[in-house]
């Protein structure tokens, strides 16, 4: 069986999802993921559809167990987990694969991601100030600061996504 390994860094999970599904369309199916390292196995094009989700709790918590049971019954397989992120696949022939079927639940999911990015941003800013206060070599705090600036962009993007969903929700609770 042919396999291949690709190294990539994604912050936007929707872009990552699109890429995984593009790979799947070409017959490459994600088998393992670890910190930017994606392992693919070759199969029949489009056999599986992929989704990525940020869980409320860590994958090994009892609450996640009940969710995993439900996923399994719906024919959804957990491919990999990374912190609270999980990578899921479902056979494409079994029909469309969505994790959220109304706007409210989409908002809750995007909000979790927003809170995660905000947390990383505040943590980085905090470390930046600590480093400056402790007269660390400029290289270190400049690195921290650059990461902070990046995460400001991610937080703002995620915030806009939330605002758009909330605007939509004022008129309808579900759209296609």
């Amino acid at each position: 069986m042919k396999t291949k390994t690709v190294y990539r860094v994604y912050v936007d999970y929707e872009k990552e999802e699109k890429w995984l599904n593009k790979m799947a369309a070409q017959g490459w199916f994600l088998e393992q993921f670890k910190l930017g390292r994606y392992e693919f196995r070759q199969g029949n094009p489009n056999e599986y559809t992929y989704r990525i989700e940020l869980l409320e709790e860590l994958p090994n918590s009892p609450k996640s167990d009940a969710y995993f049971e439900l996923l399994e019954e719906m024919g959804i397989t957990i491919v990999a987990t990374s912190y609270r992120w999980i990578y899921l696949k479902k056979r494409t022939e079994e029909g469309p694969f969505q994790l959220y079927s109304d706007i409210d639940s989409k908002i809750r999911h995007e909000k979790r991601i927003y809170q995660l990015y905000s947390f990383v941003l505040y943590l980085n800013l905090f470390v930046t100030f600590l480093n400056i206060a402790n007269d660390a070599v400029p290289f270190i705090w400049i690195l921290n600061f650059t990461v902070s600036v990046l995460f400001i962009v991610f937080v703002v993007k995620q915030y806009r996504k939330l605002v758009k969903l909330k605007e939509k929700r004022q008129l309808v609770e579900r759209d296609v």
Partner: protein, 108 residues
């Protein structure tokens, strides 16, 4: 609960979940029942269903019960949930009645 129930508007997902829990069901059973009831129109996705179930348990409108199969967790509606659902039915009846009376009223 009962006195405030008149002003609550449920989402479609919550309405159908409460309706399906007139008898105990597990997560997948709820999804199948709702899909059947709505003739495939409402397909509760895993994340949506699971999130709604935990919020409803937290609110006390449904509760987890020991499943017949033993291993699987089942849910059933509570008395509070039942009064919310009944109030919602009255609200929906009003919406339908008004819709029937007024939609297209200026045409005839």
């Amino acid at each position: 609960m009962a006195q405030s129930a008149g002003s609550i508007a449920l989402t479609e997902a919550v309405y159908y979940i409460l309706l399906s829990l007139q008898i105990p069901r597990h997560g997948y059973g709820i999804m199948q029942f709702v899909q059947e009831l709505s003739h495939d129109r409402v397909q509760l996705a895993a994340g949506t269903l699971y999130g709604a179930l935990s919020s409803l348990v937290e609110k006390g409108w449904i509760e987890a019960v020991e499943g017949a199969s033993g291993r699987k967790k089942e849910y059933v509606i509570t008395i509070d949930g039942q009064s919310v659902l009944e109030a919602e039915l009255l609200r929906l009846e009003e919406l339908v009645a008004n819709g029937k009376q007024w939609i297209g009223a200026n045409r005839s």
